[in-house]
């Protein structure tokens, strides 16, 4: 085959069919419908199959991207899936929720001239095809007598569990909620990541022999020390996430109708509050809903509120659209769906309606001042610009704190913010205990958590004297955790500058 060049490949990025905005705000079905085979082949033809692919280095789990794309082009779909799933156990999930524009697609050389190859869409297509065809990820099992405990069934824990199971270990994953998946289950809404996709990907894990025990709050039911000393776990991975919501501590915050995005999303995604009273968990949706913050969680909360039938849904953010930390696609989708954006606006007080509910919100207008430590221009309140914002539900999506339970119940060293301190191998202060994902870095992304889970698995294998059988790590960069593709560890925030 003649070598492809930027001039010979299809110039246009293959569009992905999406549900029309007017239709989708009435349902919880997926927004982006996914490629078909023809779309996928067409898009694969746009990949230059670089000999030294930048995209692989930019992927937190180092997927051999040109490798799987080449196999798709050759029509070897199962072989393509094997390559993909060697590095990424949850391709149907990551294809949907990764910020590809900051990772693989952000460094794709095709993107220098044209739109980059739609790697995320291809990953999703292949992941969905595998689910449809019932392909299981390639088990690479060597028997070992080791028993591994994983705390948290979110992306970090699942990735670590998969690698340890492939290494032949007995793996038990403990989940505090009654259904597994962590943030994938309770956080990300159905229209962005359907539950059946999570179920399919998780069942791959159980096929590898991983046992998932729900309703188990580690720290309180038993401690990490007990796992190591009494329960026979040779190594433990902590992937509990950061998920304790932040509030602003402004007056009126305890009025009814003020809640965290975590609570709104958990009530809806995990507990089915959207169907109350057919289900038992209520939500108490407001007529006019204001979401504070503009990250991915905020986008999810906004779009859930819209779909549940709120008449007005507002995004209130103290900076401008250029600093909006959400994934570009989520922001665009939210805008198409009729969410009203109030940039350079910050709440200062929530007012009582006289009956303990929200009457309105007092906001102040902001302007951008000098750059702060994160390099972003600091928002500064404009004098005498306060005004009343009419709303009856206020949802906070302004970030999270580390969950305190692990810190309360074991002697692990934490940093000054309360996150677990690890070395570069993700080892904690306790021998045989590793940690990764949001509980180490602060709120980040699904794929970074997965990358951390895999990195911890590699360290665990070294600790246990197991051969590292995941060849992909031969080329893996060691500094994955600190380079953080667009995420500033210190600031614990996305700092992508989206130039207007």
């Amino acid at each position: 085959m003649a070598k492809k060049t930027i001039r010979t490949i299809p110039q246009e990025r293959t569009p992905i069919p999406v549900q029309d905005a007017a239709v989708r705000v009435e349902n919880f079905d997926e927004v982006a419908l996914g490629y078909n085979q023809e779309n996928a082949l067409n898009e694969c033809a746009r990949c230059l199959l670089c000999p030294e692919p930048a995209c692989v280095k930019a992927c937190p789990v180092c997927i051999d991207i040109p490798g799987f794309i080449e196999e798709i082009s050759n029509g070897n779909f199962h072989a393509a899936y094997t390559i993909l799933s060697d590095s990424n156990f949850l391709p149907a999930i990551c294809g949907r929720v990764c910020p590809q524009e900051d990772q693989c697609e952000g460094v794709c050389p095709v993107g220098d001239t044209l739109e980059p190859v739609a790697i995320g869409r291809l990953e999703r297509w292949l992941g969905d095809l595998a689910i449809q065809e019932g392909w299981a990820a390639n088990p690479y099992k060597e028997p070992s007598d080791f028993k591994i405990g994983i705390i948290g069934s979110g992306p970090a824990g699942m990735a670590c569990a998969a690698d340890m199971a492939k290494a032949g270990c007995e793996v038990i994953v403990y989940e505090a909620l009654h259904a597994p998946g962590g943030v994938l289950r309770y956080g990300i809404p159905e229209f962005r990541l359907p539950n059946h996709v999570i179920d399919a990907e998780l069942s791959n894990l159980t096929k590898l022999g991983v046992r998932i025990e729900c309703n188990t709050l580690v720290g309180r039911l038993f401690t990490i020390e007990q796992m190591r000393e009494e329960m026979g776990f040779d190594a433990v991975f902590i992937g509990t996430g950061a998920g304790s919501p932040k509030f602003m501590e402004i007056p009126g915050e305890s009025l009814n109708g003020v809640l965290s995005a975590n609570e709104l999303l958990t009530r809806c995604n995990l507990m089915g509050a959207g169907d109350f009273p057919a289900t038992d968990t209520p939500l108490g949706l407001g007529r006019r809903v204001a979401v504070i913050g503009s990250g991915n969680t905020a986008m999810d909360a906004l779009r859930v509120a819209k779909r549940l039938g709120a008449e007005k849904v507002y995004c209130v953010y103290r900076r401008t659209e250029a600093e909006c930390p959400a994934r570009l696609e989520e922001l665009e989708h939210a805008q198409e769906e009729g969410i009203e954006f109030h940039w350079l606006t910050a709440p200062v007080e929530i007012l009582d309606d006289g009956e303990g509910n929200i009457g309105a919100m007092r906001c102040v207008r902001m302007e951008l001042g000098e750059p702060d430590d994160s390099g972003r221009r600091r928002p500064v309140p404009i004098d005498d610009s306060e005004y009343e914002f009419q709303t009856d539900m206020v949802v906070y999506a302004i970030g999270t704190n580390p969950n305190p339970i692990i810190g309360q119940t074991c002697k692990l060293t934490l940093n000054k913010w309360g996150y677990i301190e690890t070395d570069e191998t993700l080892a904690t202060s306790m021998a045989g205990v590793y940690a990764g994902g949001d509980i180490v870095t602060g709120a980040a992304t699904v794929i970074l958590a997965m990358g951390a889970g895999r990195k911890a698995a590699r360290s665990m294998k070294a600790y246990l004297g197991l051969r590292d059988n995941s060849a992909i790590y031969a080329t893996a960069p060691d500094e994955t955790i600190n380079t953080l593709f667009g995420i500033d560890v210190e600031e614990k925030n996305f700092v992508r500058a989206r130039l207007a």
Binding site: H178, R185, L217, S244, P245, R267, D280
Partner: protein, 315 residues
């Protein structure tokens, strides 16, 4: 036939199956049930691991069936030898009424997670008063027992509406040096509220180190007010609305000493003199309309069964 058992049938693939394959064995099986009144009942379920881990002051979150809400309930007792945990429940909302109907011996709860929350601090105090009203009578028992075991002089005070609603008298008497029952109608013990019991205990003993008060918010508020002038340390156990119980949703935030706290991970025990009870009571009313709707729908659904009373045993 208990509907809860049928509710545990395999549903669609995925989460359900995984939750069922959670290797819980015989966990969550109800092994004892006792009815104290037309609204108050006890269930004891097996969970050896939880029985070993549970300490006074902690709570669990229960999902009676797969599609129910998650309800927080304070642990009323635990038996490490039997490997069981006991809950005392008041059937006042849809889920608790459903449990009253369905939770018979042999049935299984879909999920129970816990123990949750920071255990009560059982210090080496000389003299302690353990006060339970309404929903709080049962959960204050493990505290009284723990204080007794640590060598304290324990005064137990419990409140009921009338004599026929009294339960666990023997259990309390076995761990209390003094035991005072207060009833609204005076049919047994002191005629009056638990605060009258607290007043009389304070009058009799000028060396009380601590008061533990568990019950409806108004009862805990009044108990804290009764001890405030005497500057007796008063610990209350807060019961706000919560979803996950692991610090993730923030629905259970309460105001203590002017600061926001999450009852599920920072509590549930707090200094009663510093709790903003009015805020707590307002927040407990957050879903009043939805709760009424759910109860109405459920009562219509099972209209063949006898109408359920809605009053509570007030302390």
């Amino acid at each position: 036939m208990c509907p809860i058992i049928t509710a545990a049938k395999e549903h669609q693939a995925g989460a359900t199956v995984l939750a069922h394959s959670a290797g819980t064995g015989s966990a969550f099986e109800i092994v004892a049930r006792e009815d104290f009144s037309d609204v108050t009942f006890l269930i004891e379920f097996t969970h050896p691991q939880m029985a070993r881990a549970a300490r006074p002051g902690q709570f669990v979150i229960v999902l009676p069936h797969e599609h129910s809400e998650r309800i927080p309930l304070t642990i009323a007792d635990f038996d490490r030898d039997r490997g069981t945990v006991t809950l005392v429940i008041q059937a006042v909302g849809k889920t608790t009424q459903e449990m009253q109907k369905d939770c018979c011996v042999g049935a299984r709860l879909f999920g129970v997670v816990g123990p949750m929350g920071v255990p009560s601090h059982i210090g080496s105090v000389g003299k302690v008063v353990c006060v339970g009203g309404g929903l709080g009578v049962a959960p204050v028992f493990p505290q009284a027992r723990a204080f007794k075991e640590s060598g304290a002089y324990v005064i137990g005070i419990v409140g009921f509406r009338s004599r026929d609603l009294v339960f666990w008298r023997d259990k309390f008497e076995s761990v209390c040096d003094e035991f005072i029952i207060c009833t609204n109608d005076g049919s047994v013990g002191i005629k009056g509220l638990v605060t009258d019991g607290i007043d009389s205990a304070i009058k009799k003993h000028d060396d009380i180190d601590e008061v533990i008060a568990i019950g409806p918010p108004i009862m805990m508020k009044c108990s804290a007010e009764a001890t405030r002038p005497h500057k007796i340390r008063t610990t209350v156990s807060l019961n706000p609305i919560m979803v996950d119980g692991t610090g993730m949703c923030g629905g259970c935030r309460v105001i203590v000493d002017g600061k926001q706290k999450f009852a599920c991970v920072d509590g549930p025990d707090f200094d009663g003199h510093k709790v903003d009870f009015d805020d707590l009571m307002n927040r407990l009313g957050r879903f009043t309309e939805e709760e009424k709707l759910a109860v109405r729908k459920w009562s219509e659904h099972c209209h063949q069964s006898e109408p359920l009373p809605h009053s509570t045993a007030e302390g």
